[in-house]
Symmetry: C2
Subunit: 336 residues, 2 copies
DNA sequence: TGAAATTAGTAAAACGTTTTAGGAAACACA
DNA sequence: TGTGTTTCCTAAAACGTTTTACTAATTTCA
């Protein structure tokens, strides 16, 4: 019960060498440090047989690295973030890194706390879908020289790498599609967050309408308060349909708004495809399974995760020069 | 750029006291150690003003605790696990703990690696939805005296705390419901994993059928291979409906099987509610939004998370005596 | 042959904390 | 006045690594 873990000291004693030697062997510096074949083999055998694993905490204290990547998102239970988390975890794991994550609920205060917490854990790199207002805290980790990659949401004030999608074009395409289908009274249901990404989603929508020569009054943009519960959102959207019955197409700017929206539509007499075209941001089983199926602007999860991890490891390996990259990935409009 | 973080030494120097004193103050042992009010205040002011945060790594090395809880699940992107993760994160955070997680893909080998990794990071407690075959590795952390709570899946060989749901009764209820609706040809779509929980789901189903006096041949149990892709699962299920067209009720034993199943049903002529009753394990928006809505056996996520965290902290505080608890929570059959 | 170079290893400091063991000064009391 | 006792604080060890700076023995080669 509770037997103390082996330390490098135990291995050294057993092999009759110094701990320095063991450390060199364990860290692949054996040849470089001219350790004899015999000693290398002896030590490796003991390590293997006893199942010795170096204490990462001690290693971190000494080296300053933790082999941990901090992931900060709005809500890990959101399928988009959960999906990204899973992909990142996988890719990071292959390089010997682990993920430690936290949800911010989009609060700058919580973000600050988390960053401090991660700092004190000597996290090696940060992947963040940032809340507005977290600029200073993020800047502080950049100043610490740690790799930082933002994704999903961009903070224009910061000189930092970013991986995102082409929100503007995605919305533009969606609106264009509505118009092609003969819809003339378009609605955008979005959230009242002051986030670049959300603004782009609105801009693309508006410009497409303008470019098509539609009257501005014909379209409507509804901003659902971020903090609203699902029920409140539904009520608000049902009201929208009541007050603007002419609406014949709706673009939902986030996956959770789409879900509230579809539930709201169920409460109206509107029949999707017949009375109403619908497109949702972020694809998911839920849209594929819906009757009728819902068209979606699918974010390329795999590409996003891959770009993030590539950038993280690029920065991790190239400590010297700090180059930043901005990766904007295309969104696919899945028509259903 | 890259200014070194403050250490307790810096604070001590600035306050003109020893680092011991600073440490005592920081750890709330000031009164107990008779530190004067004046010194306490001076130190606290400096700490506050300079924004000093103790290095958790050093603290961990010295104390052997990390304030980290390790979460090991099959797949963090599965909404059930993502939901639990989020709730645990929240509850742990309030007590100053963080979560570090990993997905096992239900492989014992990966589980072992992860446990070793977590060990070397001196994780304070483990929350695990275990894969079969991981018994030895889990036993080893129990032997280390670390708190361990299993959930979702139970390993009968281990003497360890567990939080789960009443799978047997849930399935029993579901089958009973089918029969009450006049269905006579029931199917259970489950997975070919050798997991206690999965077996219970099957047993409840079978016993309900027997208790109702239905002929055994009338019902069917399909086991979808775990490693199958979504597409393969769908093909398999479409085949099932072809070969056993008399089936008039289906219980899906996991949320992802239900999704495959619903997609499969779309490919047949079957009309849900009319030709076919459907119940799925694990509730989700997807079932609420489906047309028609799908009845579900809703796991009480909040209760599960609460029970897990309560047990973790109970064990964490009461290092001395190792008592184990088995919490079985009821499942709610949501009829839609 | 003797100096230089190479080989094979080690001792000890350092990372930033917590904690044990103790010490000096002030006070209490007989 | 001397002796406990209390108050306030500190020195130093320890946690388990990595890494720098060394040494002793052997080999090379002019």
């Amino acid at each position: 019960m509770s037997t103390k873990a082996l330390s490098i000291r135990d291995i050294a004693a057993k092999a009759n060498v110094s701990i320095t030697t063991v450390s060199f062997i364990l860290n692949g510096k054996a040849v470089e440090r001219n350790i004899s074949k015999a000693v290398i083999q002896r030590v490796e055998e003991i390590v293997e047989a006893d199942g010795y694993k170096p204490n990462q905490i001690a290693r971190s204290l000494r080296t300053g690295n933790s082999q941990i990547i901090g992931l900060i998102v709005e809500d890990i239970a959101n399928p988009f973030f959960a999906g990204i988390a899973r992909l990142l975890e996988d890719k990071a794991y292959r390089k010997g890194y682990k993920i430690i994550y936290s949800s911010t609920e989009n609060q700058a205060g919580k973000t600050r706390e988390l960053i401090n917490l991660f700092k004190s854990r000597q996290v090696d790199a940060y992947v963040i879908a940032p809340a507005q207002g977290a600029e200073k805290d993020i800047q502080s980790i950049i100043d610490d020289g740690k790799p930082v990659v933002l994704f999903d949401r961009f903070l224009p004030q910061l000189d930092v790498s970013y991986v995102g999608i082409d929100n503007y074009n995605a919305s533009y395409q969606a609106a264009q599609q509505f118009i092609k289908e003969g819809r003339r009274h378009l609605a955008l249901v979005t959230v009242d967050l002051d986030i670049q990404q959300i603004k782009e989603r609105e801009d693309g929508f508006n410009v497409a309408i303008k470019d098509a020569g539609l009257k501005k009054e014909a379209s409507v943009v509804i901003k659902v308060p971020f903090a609203h519960s699902r029920e409140e959102a539904i009520t608000l959207l049902v009201d929208m349909f009541k007050q603007a019955p002419q609406i014949d197409a709706v673009l939902f700017a986030t996956n959770y708004l789409a879900i509230s929206g579809l539930l709201a539509i169920k409460e109206t007499e509107k029949i999707i495809k017949q009375d109403l075209s619908v497109i949702a941001y972020d694809d998911g089983d839920i849209f594929k399974l819906h009757t009728p199926q819902i068209s979606a602007l699918a974010q390329p999860l795999e590409d996003i995760a891959e770009s993030i991890i590539k950038e993280v490891f690029q920065q991790l390996s190239d400590k010297s020069e700090r180059t930043i990259t901005r990766t904007i990935l295309p969104v696919e409009l899945l028509l259903r």
